[in-house]
């Protein structure tokens, strides 16, 4: 960042003139390249924080306004699946971190295995999410498209949930309607998160092919590292979504 590093970088460049194949022509040294792309990834994640920030802000405001509706609506989420998904994601973060380590230590087989595991866990997450979305559709909890206030006007009409939360009172009609707002935000937030997962999984697929060809076990691990950052970031978003959507209103 300081000019002294810039100078030392160029000094290093003068000493060895042969560039490894993965060094892009416009960088002086591999270190500069790694440093630069790493910095770019962090900046991009900052952008992503602002992106999700808008959603979180909307959620917090609406939750504050329509607290009873948000509480009862969150009881409708399946905490079992939610917890399972959290576990899946944390595991995938672990395999991803192991992948980065394997790349750093030039273990090709381990790298391919780790990336493949991450890939599978990512797909598992999406699978579970699909089950959850399907459940919402069945229960008419999709705002705008397939919606019914019934579970909130009369919680007893939904015995499965009611058995876990016998304290849930019937909501007044105007408040029951606001449960739609919760589910709108639920779908917007988890949907945006899932979109990030899908993008991540696609890149993973591409990386597995490249890893098999040995592209990341040459000592140049920036690509794997940066992707790891992205993957952990998507994971962390979920770590915020899970308590906000599933846990916060349970006792």
């Amino acid at each position: 960042m300081s000019d002294s590093t810039a100078i030392s970088n160029s000094a290093a460049a003068e000493t060895h003139h042969e560039h490894p194949p993965y060094q892009r022509h416009h960088f002086e040294t591999v270190e500069q390249q790694a440093d630069t792309t790493n910095f770019a990834m962090w900046l991009f994640l900052l952008t992503e924080v602002m992106f999700f920030g808008g959603l979180f802000t909307s959620y917090l405001i609406m939750r504050n306004w329509y607290y009873p509706a948000f509480v009862e609506a969150s009881h409708q989420l399946n905490i079992g699946w939610g917890t399972a998904n959290t576990a899946v994601l944390i595991m995938s973060s672990f395999t991803m971190a192991m992948g980065v380590w394997s790349a750093e230590t030039r273990r090709k087989g381990a790298l391919v295995l780790c990336l493949s595991l991450t890939f599978v866990l990512g797909l598992a997450f999406l699978g579970i999410k699909t089950i959850e979305y399907h459940e919402k559709w069945e229960k008419h909890h999709v705002p705008g498209l397939n919606w019914s206030d019934a579970s909130f006007l009369n919680p007893a009409s939904d015995p499965e949930v009611h058995k876990d939360y016998p304290g849930d009172q019937p909501l007044a009609p105007d408040m029951a309607q606001k449960a739609q707002m919760y589910f709108f935000l639920y779908f917007a937030m988890t949907g945006m998160h899932a979109l990030h997962m899908i993008i991540g999984i696609s890149i993973l697929g591409f990386m597995i092919v490249r890893a098999r060809a040995g592209a990341y076990t040459t000592g140049h691990v920036t690509y794997v590292e940066n992707f790891g950052l992205y993957w952990h970031f998507v994971d962390i978003i979920w770590i915020f979504l899970f308590p906000l959507l599933y846990l916060i209103s349970r006792h």
Partner: protein, 359 residues
């Protein structure tokens, strides 16, 4: 003028006679607003003249011809501090001055006469307390503070009277207020200034400022027979509000007499003042606005009462200083159980009311 085409000549004539450069000052606040406006214009002019003078004089003095060799100067802390602090000072004066005006324009005096204005695509509907309705027009007397309570039925609109130098957004879902005191009788423009769809530019009208006598005559001549509060009373009955909000010992809702402007404790423990906004919310989103000690059983009237209807109800509740009228309506509805209003007692259904209020 033979060599000028008659069409062009007509145009020129029209312009010369119809050429406005500054809006009329027709309210008490207008001259004060203009004082700040001209102060700012003066500061801007002086600033611009300084910048232009600097550029022009330096360009002449230090053009390459006259001054072939530039003298390098790093900067000057004193000079830079000067042009940081002086603009800052001026801006702060404008800030304070502007804020004083802003607070005055958006803080209506207690004795102001309230007129409700509903904006909808693409017209303004004004509702006087005496029951006079106006569309795309507003009649007001001279020399009396007028408060406008604005709301929009659909999208954002903005109520602007340039001659009075006031403007306020009409927002869907909440009341906003603005006030003015007209000083000069006449007819002035009324604009919607917030883009609101296809016929945005047709959402204009006239503000007619009259002498108090003329205004009185106008009020008498345009009355619809019912005051706004009376409209509200009819609605109150037809929506069966009185079946709960009465003074009987077993009443399921709180009494509404003198409720306006009083402090209420809600079921959430919160204490609030029952103002227009609260009353509106309590009708449309009752569950969050339950008075302490009552069950949350009131149905929502969202989608069943138009904004005009809500305004009439609010006006009625505002003027309820005893329960006498409520009891009266109660008695009449009890006597005539066959009336459609009586049937509509089931929560959430008020077909008769709907027909009555929807324009």
């Amino acid at each position: 003028m033979d060599h000028i085409s008659p069409v062009l000549w007509q145009f020129l004539q029209k312009w010369l006679t119809h050429f406005a450069l500054f809006p009329p000052e027709a309210s008490k606040i207008a001259p004060e607003m203009d004082a700040l406006y001209f102060f700012m214009a003066l500061v801007s002019l002086v600033g611009l003249v300084i910048v232009v003078l600097l550029i022009v004089s330096f360009s002449i003095l230090y053009s390459k011809k006259r001054h072939p060799k530039a003298v390098q100067i790093e900067g000057s802390t004193i000079l830079e501090a000067t042009w940081t602090i002086i603009p800052l000072g001026l801006f702060l004066i404008m800030f304070v001055w502007g804020a004083l005006l802003y607070f005055r324009i958006y803080t209506p005096p207690a004795n102001a006469m309230n007129i409700y204005v509903v904006g909808k695509q693409w017209m303004w509907k004004a509702e006087h307390p005496g029951g006079q309705h106006e569309i795309n027009a507003l009649h007001v007397p001279v020399g009396r503070p007028i408060q406008l309570t604005l709301i929009s039925q659909d999208v954002f609109h903005s109520f602007s009277i340039p001659a009075f130098r006031v403007k306020r957004e009409a927002i869907p879902g909440r009341y906003t207020t603005v006030w003015f005191e007209a000083t000069t009788p006449g007819t002035y423009h009324l604009f919607c200034t917030q883009y609101c769809g296809t016929n945005h530019s047709q959402m204009i009208g006239d503000v007619v400022v009259m002498t108090p006598d003329d205004f009185k005559k106008w009020l008498e001549g345009s009355t619809s027979g019912n005051s706004l509060a009376q409209d509200g009373e009819r609605l109150f009955t037809s929506l069966s509000c009185s079946s709960c909000h009465n003074t009987r010992p077993d009443a399921r809702g709180p009494s509404l007499a003198n409720v306006y402007d009083s402090r209420l404790t809600l079921s959430t423990g919160e204490t609030i003042t029952a103002d227009d906004a609260y009353l509106r919310q309590a009708i449309l989103n009752p569950s969050q606005h339950i008075t302490q000690g009552y069950a949350p059983i009131m149905p929502t009237y969202q989608g069943q009462v138009s904004e005009e209807g809500v305004i009439a109800l609010v006006e009625y509740i505002k003027n309820l200083d005893s329960d006498y009228r409520v009891q009266q309506t109660l008695n009449t509805t009890d006597l005539v159980p066959e009336s459609p209003a009586g049937k509509a007692a089931t929560p959430g259904k008020a077909p008769a009311a709907q027909k009555e209020v929807k324009p």
